[in-house]
Structure formats: structure tokens, C-alpha cells
């Protein structure tokens, strides 16, 4: 999409009109949760956060793949990073994520671990060919957005006869997590801004349960200010009418059925499994694991890795923040013991985490 076209979705006059309309239509608080780290950042970066009416209560949900990567999963890849034969390949986001004892991939590199930041999972194929005596282990973190390209990489590796590539699969799926959130009676959310990138793969249908089963609204939304304002305006309108809907506002990118080819590749290689979410805990059926017929590529099998829930981080409220029960500034560690330079909890770890966004962008 051209920048000129995108600029139309940032039109300040139109945004002002929508903000004014929203102000007039709001009768009481609207608690909305955005389920994508990129939305969190977009809301702050555009300045929208400082302009939204006070009655709009903005909650950042479990939509940042780094934030929800469980500490046991982090420790697993940090343990592997020191292995003699292993070259870890990862997206840059994971480089500073802390494991136990303050370990992270940056420090592992300083201690001699071989870690390569890649821009695409397909870069691992070249790495594997260039290092035939080593094992390339790609850290498979992310939602439905990234899982298909990693599945595609494994398919290509098989086609090319590459046998020294492994994937440490920690993929998670979004709709299952939303259902778990809505099933928790302590959580009070009026509507969801649904992730644009994930929805481009899975489409709209997997979210229909939000309205049908729970009577809440949800809108698949793009990342420009007008995208976000339009979705909020709609949800206010529906709530005022006592209605609940799930709709797709991001039609320039997201088809109703998503990307069936990507889904086919994803489920050819992966199958659903239970997954641990950092700050939340076990959500049945919310993860992906490598199917037995692809086990040559499975780093968990190769190295006998199991993921287990440990004790919660003392004082850290990230679980409540990811569930929309608390705001980042309500955590006693926020900005004190927990900062982007020294993150304690998951929401401060990632550049797209809600605590990191509050810390980085919030003026007062």
C-alpha cells in the first residue's frame, strides 16, 4: 500500500471529528482491549492515547508475542544458546528478553554463544547451508502471523534436503486466548480491537464466538488512527443500541476467510496443543506444536525440552495487565524495579509490550 493512501487514514481533521462524535456518544465507560502489540504502539505513537475521551478505558491484552512467551520457554532457548553445536537464529525482539538470573541472548553472545538475528525465517536455510556441521535452531515465537512462514521454511528445508535446521516451537494462537479471557469472570471488557496481522491469516470467522457466546463486540482493525477510531466509534454505537457484532474493518488487508493457503501450510506442519502463556498460565489448545511427521525439525524432541510452569514473579502484575484487570502504572514495580533497561515482567520486556509502551511514550 502506498504511503499516500496510508496518509488518508491519518487525516487530522477526520480524526478530530471522530473524537468529537465519540465524546458525544459515550454515556459511560467503554473498556476496550487491543490484542496486538503493534496496536498498542500505534495508539501511543500517533498521540491517540492522549486524545481519547477519559471514558475510553484502554487495555492492552495478550497480543505481543514476546510478552506472552513463557519464562520456561525463555529459559529453554537460553539454555540451548550455550550448546556447542547450536547456532540460535531469532528475530531481534527476543535478544533482550530476560530468563532466570538476568540471563538473555545478548549476554549469552558476550559469553560466546552463536546467535544470529534474522529478518525472515527463510534466512535460516542459507545459515544451515553455510554451516553444515552445526545445528541451526530457530526460535519459533509468535502467533498465526509468523507460524505459516516458519512452516513454509520447514517445507522448503525438506524439499532442499537440509537436515541441520531445527525449530523450537513456542507458537500460540489468538482466538483461544481471547476465549480464555472472556471466560474469566474477573475480567471486564466491552470490546476488542482485533489484530490486523493475525486476522490477515485466520480471517474473521474464528472470532464470531465473542459476540455469539459472550455478547461482546470485536472489530478487526488496521493500524492507522482512523482505523482505530472508526472501530471504537462502531463499538460505542453498538453498545448504546444493546447490540454485539464481530466485523472486519481492515478489508484492505484482511479477507473474510483470511489466507487459506497460509493456514493450510501452517496446519500441515503444526497441530494444536496446550500452551503456557507468560503472566496468564496454561490455556488449553492455545499453542502449536510440530506434527510427528515433521519431527526431524523439532528442537524440543532433539534436546528433550519440556516446558513447565514455575512460581510467579514476585510483585509483578503483568498477568493482571495482560488480562486487562490492571493498568501498567498500577503495578508497584512499574518504572522503579521494572524498566525497559531492567525488565522484570513480560509487558516491560518487549518494545510492543503495554508496560514498555506506557514507560516509553506516556508523557505524564
Amino acid at each position: 500500500m502506498s504511503f499516500e493512501l496510508l496518509e488518508k487514514f491519518r487525516d487530522p481533521d477526520l480524526c478530530r471529528k471522530m473524537l468529537d462524535k465519540m465524546q458525544g456518544d459515550l454515556t459511560n465507560d467503554l473498556r476496550f482491549m487491543e490484542v496486538c502489540g503493534t496496536h498498542t504502539v500505534a495508539i501511543f505513537q500517533s498521540g491517540l492515547r492522549s486524545l481519547l475521551p477519559e471514558k475510553i478505558v484502554h487495555l492492552s491484552g495478550p497480543g505481543c508475542p514476546v510478552c506472552v512467551t513463557h519464562e520456561s520457554e525463555v529459559n529453554a532457548f537460553l539454555d540451548l544458546a550455550g550448546h556447542d553445536r547450536v547456532i540460535m537464529a531469532t528475530f531481534g525482539d527476543l535478544m533482550r528478553v530476560p530468563g532466570d538470573n538476568g540471563r538473555n541472548l545478548k549476554k549469552a553472545m558476550a559469553d560466546g554463544a552463536r546467535v544470529k538475528v534474522v529478518y525472515s525465517p527463510f534466512d535460516t536455510l542459507k545459515l544451515a547451508k553455510e554451516n553444515p556441521d552445526d545445528l541451526i535452531v530457530f526460535i519459533g515465537v509468535g502467533f498465526e502471523t509468523t507460524a505459516p512462514t516458519i512452516a513454509g521454511t520447514m517445507k522448503m528445508a525438506r524439499a532442499q534436503g537440509i537436515e541441520n535446521l531445527r525449530v523450537l516451537c513456542f507458537h500460540k494462537t489468538v482466538p483461544t486466548a481471547l476465549e480464555a479471557l472472556l471466560s474469566d469472570e474477573a475480567i471486564n471488557i466491552d470490546g476488542f480491537i482485533l489484530p490486523g496481522h493475525v486476522s490477515a491469516i485466520i480471517g474473521v470467522e474464528p472470532y464470531n464466538f465473542i459476540a455469539e457466546k459472550f455478547g461482546k463486540s470485536a472489530v478487526v482493525t488496521g493500524f492507522e488512527p482512523l482505523d482505530i477510531l472508526q472501530s471504537l466509534t462502531q463499538m460505542i454505537d453498538w453498545r448504546n443500541k444493546g447490540e454485539a457484532h464481530v466485523v472486519n474493518n481492515y478489508t484492505r488487508i484482511v479477507g473474510e476467510n483470511g489466507n487459506p493457503k497460509a493456514l493450510e501450510v501452517m496446519y500441515e506442519v503444526f497441530e494444536p496443543t496446550d500452551a503456557l502463556w507468560r503472566g496468564i498460565g496454561l490455556i488449553p489448545g492455545s499453542g502449536l506444536e510440530i506434527r510427528p511427521e515433521w519431527e526431524l525439525f523439532d528442537a524440543k524432541k532433539e534436546f528433550g525440552i519440556t516446558i513447565e510452569e514455575g512460581p510467579a514473579l514476585k510483585g509483578c502484575k503483568c498477568g493482571d495487565i495482560l488480562k486487562g484487570i490492571k493498568q501498567p502504572v498500577e503495578c508497584p514495580l512499574f518504572g522503579k524495579a521494572c524498566t525497559p533497561a531492567n525488565p522484570v515482567g513480560p509487558c516491560m520486556v518487549s518494545t510492543e509490550g503495554s508496560c514498555a509502551a506506557y514507560y516509553k511514550y506516556k508523557l505524564d
Binding site: 478530530r16 486524545l51 502467533f143
Partner: protein, 334 residues
């Protein structure tokens, strides 16, 4: 000479002498350097500005320059930001055994050309060759010295509320070029480093204006980090107008793909000028008259609202913090 740099060339013996005379003096030679004394003899007095910098850029060749020209531009600019005329530089080369001699020649030639264009002489140098793997191809340190011609000299702690914040052109070009070349990323539109010596333009600027509070080149950490350093030192607030920030569409596009913020990317041919608002138009006129300042514009104002902070005013009229970079920028997952 061999077609590759050998450890012998750093021995201090005949091989070293050949490298110095047949390569370094060929491109960098002048009356002072040619004497090959242990130190240079300089006739300088008064208030002097001196700066040193080490260049370890990867890749060593990139669109818009190479590590040799960059090593001159970086140090010349650092000296010039003090309101000084850079006069002389020194250079120290640490070379990895096995570097192709052609590469070294291109680098030294680029250094000589850059020094000539900047009007500085290379008066002292050093060459070391280290075993393969001890450095990444080549590292260069340069030190520069110059005469300060402005009183008081511009300084990072001298910004005041009411000052205009000017930038000499687009930001992020160098940083994205280096990253793109390093990773072999093929951007749709070509980006090129802005690496250049700014001293001639800066001299025109300081000579043409009665008062310049801060001059600073936003290199590593980019515009955002540099402005944070200034607001912190000066205890003022910088309000940046986002829609006024000059960023090339191709840089915006490349950053958008990689999940990077151009405001944190390095620049090697741009400078910030902070001065009383009443002199801003004159400053922009001087900057725009020079090709290196053709894209100059005002991007913000210093205020006393949030001392020590940089605040970005978005096109919607919202305000948010623009903080200092924590570590290096890394590409994101999605």
C-alpha cells in the same frame, strides 16, 4: 606489495615501510606527514577543539562511502560542531590479516579525498596488522583538532526555552543504508548514506549569525537520542513537530518493513542547530544555500514545559514522549 595485507606489514620493518610509502603517503601525504617523525609539529594556539572517534562500521563499503571517508567525515564534523575550523587529523589503522590490498587502497584513497575536500591535513598516523579474526576487516581511529572561532562555543548544555530547533536535512539515511547493506536487504528504492564533511557549511553558519547555542551531529542513536542528550544537559524541553520532520519516503518504507524508527538511526552528514527563534530564518537561508543543507528546516522549539524531555507533537495534535534509545534497535517479529 602482496595482494593481501600480511602480518609482515605491521612488523615495523621494511614491509611496513613499503606499505606506508607506497600506499598511505601516496594518498595522505603532505609536508608534515612526509617527514615521518614520531609526532607532528603544529603551529596552533588559542582555543582549540579536539575530538577522537573510532570507526568499526560493517560493511566497510556502502552506498555513499566507505570506512575511510567516514572516518574523516565523522571526526571533522565533531570538531566543527564546536564552532571550530578543523585543521588537522591523525589516523590509526588496525587491519585484519588477509584484507585485500585493493580494499585497503580504496579506503585510504577515500580518506585522502575526504581530507582534501574538508581542508584538513593528515599529520600523523599508525598502522597495525593483527591476526585473522582479531578484528573485523579494518578499524580506523581518527583524531581531529581545529581552531574555535565562536565565543562562546556552541555547547549541548546551552539550549534555552524559546530556541528554534533546526535540522540540516533528512534523517535516518545513513543508518538504514548500513543496515540494509549489512543484511543484504534489497529495498525497493535505493537509499544512500549521507556521509559528508559539514565544516564548510558550519563555518558559513556561525560566521553569519550572532548567536548559536547548540550544534550537534546526530550520529549513533539518531536524532531522538541526540535531542535527549541536549534537553538533559540544558534542562529544557524540546517539542518536536512530527509532521515537520524530514524523512525520505524510502527510509520511512525501509524502517516500516524492519520495525525500526528512523529517528533513532544514525546520520553522518546532518546537524542540529539550536538558536534563538529570531535567528532561525537567517540560519535556514544560510543552510539551504549549501547543497549539504538544502533540506534544512525547523522541526521544533525548546520550551520550559517538561525539562529534560523530548516531546513529540503528532499530526493529530497528541503529545507523547520521545525517549532515549535503550541499546540498539532490533527488528521485530511482526
Amino acid at each position: 606489495m602482496s595482494d593481501k595485507v600480511l602480518l609482515d606489514y605491521g612488523s615495523g620493518g621494511r614491509a611496513s615501510q613499503r606499505l606506508i610509502s607506497e600506499l598511505f603517503l601516496k594518498y595522505l601525504g603532505n609536508d608534515e606527514l612526509n617527514r615521518l617523525n614520531d609526532a607532528a609539529e603544529l603551529a596552533m594556539s588559542g582555543r582549540l577543539a579536539m575530538s577522537t572517534d573510532s570507526f568499526v562500521v560493517d560493511p566497510i563499503f556502502f552506498p555513499g562511502g566507505n570506512i575511510g571517508s567516514l572516518a574523516v567525515h565523522g571526526t571533522v564534523n565533531d570538531v566543527a560542531m564546536m564552532g571550530a575550523i578543523p585543521r588537522h587529523i591523525t589516523c590509526a589503522y588496525i587491519i585484519e590479516e588477509g584484507l585485500p590490498m585493493d580494499d585497503l587502497e580504496q579506503i585510504v584513497a577515500a580518506m585522502g579525498k575526504a581530507a582534501e575536500e574538508a581542508g584538513v591535513t593528515v599529520v600523523s598516523g599508525d598502522t597495525k596488522v593483527v591476526p585473522k579474526g582479531a578484528v573485523d576487516k579494518i578499524f580506523i581511529n581518527t583524531t581531529g583538532i581545529g581552531d574555535i572561532i565562536v565565543d562562546p562555543a556552541p555547547s549541548g548544555d546551552a539550549a534555552k526555552p524559546g530556541d528554534a530547533v533546526l535540522i540540516s536535512g533528512t534523517v535516518g539515511d545513513h543508518g538504514l543504508t548500513i543496515l540494509g547493506t549489512r543484511e543484504g536487504l534489497d529495498f525497493e528504492a535505493r537509499v544512500e548514506s549521507d556521509s559528508a564533511s559539514l565544516n564548510h557549511l558550519l563555518i558559513k553558519l556561525v560566521e553569519g549569525l550572532p548567536e548559536v547555542h547548540v550544534l550537534r551531529d546526530p550520529t549513533r542513536g539518531g536524532l531522538a537520542t541526540t535531542l535527549n542528550e541536549i534537553t538533559s544537559s540544558s534542562n529544557v524541553c524540546c517539542e518536536l513537530i512530527e509532521s515537520d520532520l524530514p524523512i525520505k519516503a524510502e527510509v520511512k518504507g525501509g524502517c516500516s518493513i524492519l520495525g525500526l524508527d528512523p529517528l533513532y538511526l544514525a546520520n553522518e552528514g546532518k546537524f542540529l542547530c539550536i538558536l534563538p527563534q529570531e535567528h532561525a530564518d537567517k540560519a535556514l537561508e544560510i543552510m539551504r544555500a549549501d547543497p549539504l543543507g538544502a533540506g534544512a528546516c525547523q522541526i521544533g522549539t525548546m520550551t520550559d514545559a517538561n525539562p529534560g524531555k523530548v516531546v513529540l507533537v503528532t499530526p493529530l495534535g497528541g503529545k507523547r514522549l520521545l525517549g532515549m534509545l535503550e541499546g540498539e534497535q532490533l527488528p521485530r517479529i511482526c
